[in-house]
Every structure is written in structure tokens, then in C-alpha cells.
């Protein structure tokens, strides 16, 4: 089972490295969205400092959602997905591998980029640290929940817009606890409570969503 998991992750990563442009597009989307906000709101550092965590988190939500379409689409088109359905091991493991690969490709670059972009918003070192921690815990949840949406809309016309409709409301708790962690750290309350709730959500998502997404995949392919 572990070897299957490793194989799926390695395979998806190889594919992603061969199509580097996709990864960079997501990353630049994130940076551009974050840059647009001050242009709309105004350059006052105080306002920006208060908004910073929220804006970065919303941008991370959108960026992670944008790349969901690629999660299963390519494998669906070339028939690999149907082969996955036939293997003796559980499909959930394959899905878990794909979720992890998706996070490594689209989540981790955002996490690494976030502190740099956060500086544009005048976030303090404590805030940046909390932001980094909350993104590190939160972005895998986005990939995990997103996998369900991607599986449900597989091969549908206009699936890209639809997946945002399905997935964004489910992202709300992650957004609240993620951005809340930064606020709590800034106000001196400490981000531990938020981060441990995010951790709990992450565990829940990692247990439930590969299985759910596997069920959804079977429904979509049959």
C-alpha cells in the first residue's frame, strides 16, 4: 500500500515537473491576486496590515482551487484513471497519493511564497510565522476537500466554474481558522488554538476525503 502511495506521488510529481508552466501559473495567480488588493483598497499600511492575512488566505484558496481541474482530468483523458479503478489495492490510496502530490505542487510553493508576499502587507515577524504555520497546515486540507469536488465534476462541461461553486463554501472553516491564527498571533493571544483546530481539520480531511473522492470517482467514471 505504501509503495503504491509512493509510486502515485512520484508519478504525479514527475508529470508536474515535465509541465512546469502549470505550477508557475498557479503561483503567479496567487501573487497577482495578492498584489491587486492594495491597488483596490489603497496603500495605507495600517489597513493593509489588518487585511493581510485574510487577503493572502483568500488568494491561497482561489489559487489552490484553480489547479484542481488538473487533479484527475489528464488521467481521465488518457484512460489511466480507468486502470486505477481496476487495481487490486484500494482506490482511496491512489487518491490520497494524488492529493499529496497536488499539495506538493500547488500548495507548498504558495506556502513558501506567502512570507515574501506578506511583507508587502507589512506583516510583523510573528504574523508571518503564524501565517506560514497556518498555511502549512491549511493548504493540504484545501487539496483534500478539493479532490472531492474535482472527482464529482470530472469530465463535465463547465466543470471548472462548477467546482468552485461546490468547493468554496466547504473551504470556509479553513479560511476562518487560517486567517484567525494570524490575527490571534498579532493580538498576542497566541495562534495555538487556531493551529490545533486546523490540525484536527487536517486529520479529519485526510481520513475522510480520499475515501469520499474515491467513491465520487467511481460514480463519475461508471
Amino acid at each position: 500500500m505504501l509503495s503504491l502511495l509512493r509510486w502515485v506521488i512520484a508519478r504525479d510529481l514527475t508529470l508536474a515537473i515535465r509541465r512546469r508552466a502549470d505550477v508557475l501559473t498557479t503561483l503567479f495567480f496567487f501573487v497577482i491576486v495578492v498584489t491587486l488588493f492594495p491597488l483596490g483598497v489603497g496603500p495605507e499600511m495600517d489597513t493593509l496590515r489588518r487585511m493581510g492575512a485574510g487577503v493572502l488566505w483568500v488568494a491561497a484558496l482561489l489559487a489552490s482551487m484553480l489547479s484542481l481541474g488538473r487533479l484527475f482530468a489528464a488521467d481521465h483523458l488518457d484512460g489511466t484513471l480507468e486502470q486505477f479503478l481496476l487495481i487490486p489495492q484500494s482506490l482511496s490510496v491512489v487518491v490520497l497519493g494524488k492529493i499529496i502530490a497536488h499539495w506538493l505542487v500547488s500548495g507548498v510553493p504558495l506556502v513558501l511564497m506567502a512570507p515574501i508576499v506578506g511583507l508587502q502587507y507589512g506583516l510583523s515577524p510573528t504574523a508571518l510565522l503564524a501565517l506560514l504555520a497556518s498555511l502549512l497546515l491549511g493548504t493540504p486540507i484545501l487539496s483534500a476537500i478539493g479532490a472531492i469536488g474535482a472527482a464529482l465534476t470530472l469530465g463535465l462541461r463547465g466543470g471548472g466554474v462548477l467546482v468552485s461553486l461546490l468547493v468554496l463554501p466547504l473551504y470556509v472553516p479553513v479560511l476562518i481558522f487560517g486567517a484567525g491564527a494570524v490575527d490571534a498571533a498579532v493580538s498576542g493571544l497566541g495562534a495555538e488554538a487556531h493551529l490545533s483546530l486546523l490540525g484536527a481539520l487536517l486529520l479529519l480531511a485526510l481520513v475522510l476525503s480520499p475515501w469520499t473522492a474515491a467513491v465520487a470517482l467511481r460514480i463519475s467514471i461508471e
Binding site: 472531492i148 462548477l162 463554501p169
Partner: protein
């Protein structure tokens, strides 16, 4: 003597249910009208003017039942959808599809009446109160469910995909509610809270319950009518529909 077992699966056949529902609709519709009349009488004539909120509080006779229905219908919808997914009964999935628009309607009504109640009471149409915000997210969940089912052409896949989404939503709704509540208490120290409302007079509670019953009866009637349409559309190639149409024309 062995008690005779009712064969519930008989009623899960769309053909049987189609005619059963047809017989039930007038009863539920009648009950809805009666309960609405009673509830509106209680709300507008029996209940006294509220000392703090004046007459504006009469909105709650609509708002609270609508909010209850919006959540209740979502759970019932997810239940039917889940049943359809597990047992593969077509009728349960059709029930789920028929419930969604009514649930979304009540969610919208709860938001609308909540805004109109909030303006005189809180001084703003929209407050980022935990309940209002979760209700809005519930509306998004309904819309997601309906758009997913509308986009999928194959009815079997639409049923099953919708079921997965509805069940994921049911798991998420409590998490969303608590996260929003937490977020709300963090951000608005001095905000008005619905939970601190003074104890309610018995007649107000009675009015709300009767109005809730009315909404319930209404929902059953309209959902049964809608599920009849869905049954006809889905079963159009079957023999009983042909027979039925033959009878309809004469």
C-alpha cells in the same frame, strides 16, 4: 397470529408512489392553508406588541420557521440522497432532487426576512452574525447541489454525485457553523446576539410552531408535486407512463 408485514419497498416503486403522492398532495396543501391561517392569526392578532422591538418582531413568525425549514430540509435531502446512494432506490434520489429548490427557497426567505428584521432591530440590514453567515453558506451549498445535478446529464450519475455532495455538506455544516461562530465572537466583541433574547411569551412560541408546521405541510405538498414531475420525466419510456398518458387524454 403473525402481524402482517408492510412491504415498504412497494411504495419505493416510482409508479406506485406517483399515484400515492397524487392522493396525498391535496391533504397536505389543505393542512398548509389551515396552519398558515391559524399561524398568521396567532402572529398578527393573538400575540401582543413586543415591549422592546415594537411590531417589527412579528417578522420572526416567518423568519424562524423559514430558518428551521432551511436546515431541516437540507438534512432530509441528504438523508434521502444517502439512502438512494446506498440502497440504489431511484425514488429516494428523486426525492432529494425535489427537495433542493424548496430548501433553497426557504434559505433565501430566512435571509431576506432576517435582513428586514435586522434593520429596525440591529440598525443594519446585514450583520456578520454567526447565524446569518452560516445561513448564507447553506444557501451556497443548496445552489452547489442544484447546479451539480443540473450539469450532469446522466440522471443516475446526477443522483449519486449529488448524494456525495449533500453528505459532505452535512458533515461540514456543523463545522462551518462553529467556525463562523468562533470567528464572529473573535471579531465583534460588542455585537448583538440573538441568543440573549428575552424569554418568549407562550403565545409567540405557539405562533412560531404553528407557522413552522404550516411551512412543513407546504413543503411536503410542493415537494410531492415536484417529485411527480421528476418521476414522469425519468420514467417516460416505461409502460405505466404510457398507459397513464393514454388515460389522461381520454
Amino acid at each position: 397470529m403473525v402481524p402482517q408485514k408492510i412491504n415498504w419497498f412497494k411504495y419505493s416503486s416510482p409508479a406506485t408512489f406517483y399515484f400515492l403522492a397524487g392522493k396525498m398532495i391535496p391533504w397536505f396543501a389543505g393542512a398548509a392553508v389551515a396552519f398558515f391561517a391559524w399561524g398568521l392569526y396567532l402572529g398578527f392578532f393573538a400575540a401582543p406588541t413586543d415591549a422592546q422591538q415594537g411590531e417589527a418582531y412579528r417578522i420572526i413568525f416567518l423568519h424562524v420557521p423559514a430558518a428551521w425549514m432551511s436546515m431541516f430540509i437540507y438534512v432530509v435531502m441528504a438523508g434521502w440522497a444517502g439512502l438512494g446512494l446506498v440502497l440504489n432506490t431511484r425514488l429516494s434520489s428523486m426525492m432529494a432532487s425535489a427537495l433542493a429548490p424548496t430548501g433553497a427557497m426557504f434559505t433565501f426567505l430566512a435571509l431576506w426576512s432576517g435582513a428586514l428584521w435586522g434593520k429596525p432591530t440591529w440598525g443594519a440590514y446585514w450583520v456578520w452574525d454567526a447565524r446569518l453567515t452560516s445561513e448564507l453558506i447553506l444557501l451556497f451549498l443548496y445552489i452547489g447541489f442544484m447546479s451539480l445535478q443540473a450539469t450532469i446529464e446522466d440522471p443516475r450519475r446526477a443522483d449519486r454525485a449529488g448524494a456525495v455532495l449533500a453528505l459532505v455538506g452535512v458533515v461540514n455544516v456543523p463545522i462551518i457553523y462553529f467556525s463562523v461562530r468562533w470567528w464572529n465572537t473573535l471579531h465583534q466583541g460588542a455585537s448583538v446576539s440573538l441568543t440573549q433574547a428575552p424569554a418568549m411569551a407562550a403565545v409567540m412560541l405557539q405562533g412560531m410552531l404553528v407557522m413552522a408546521l404550516a411551512c412543513w405541510m407546504y413543503s411536503i405538498a410542493v415537494v410531492l408535486a415536484r417529485v411527480r414531475c421528476i418521476i414522469l420525466e425519468r420514467e417516460r419510456h416505461s409502460a405505466w407512463v404510457a398507459e397513464f398518458l393514454e388515460g389522461e387524454r381520454q
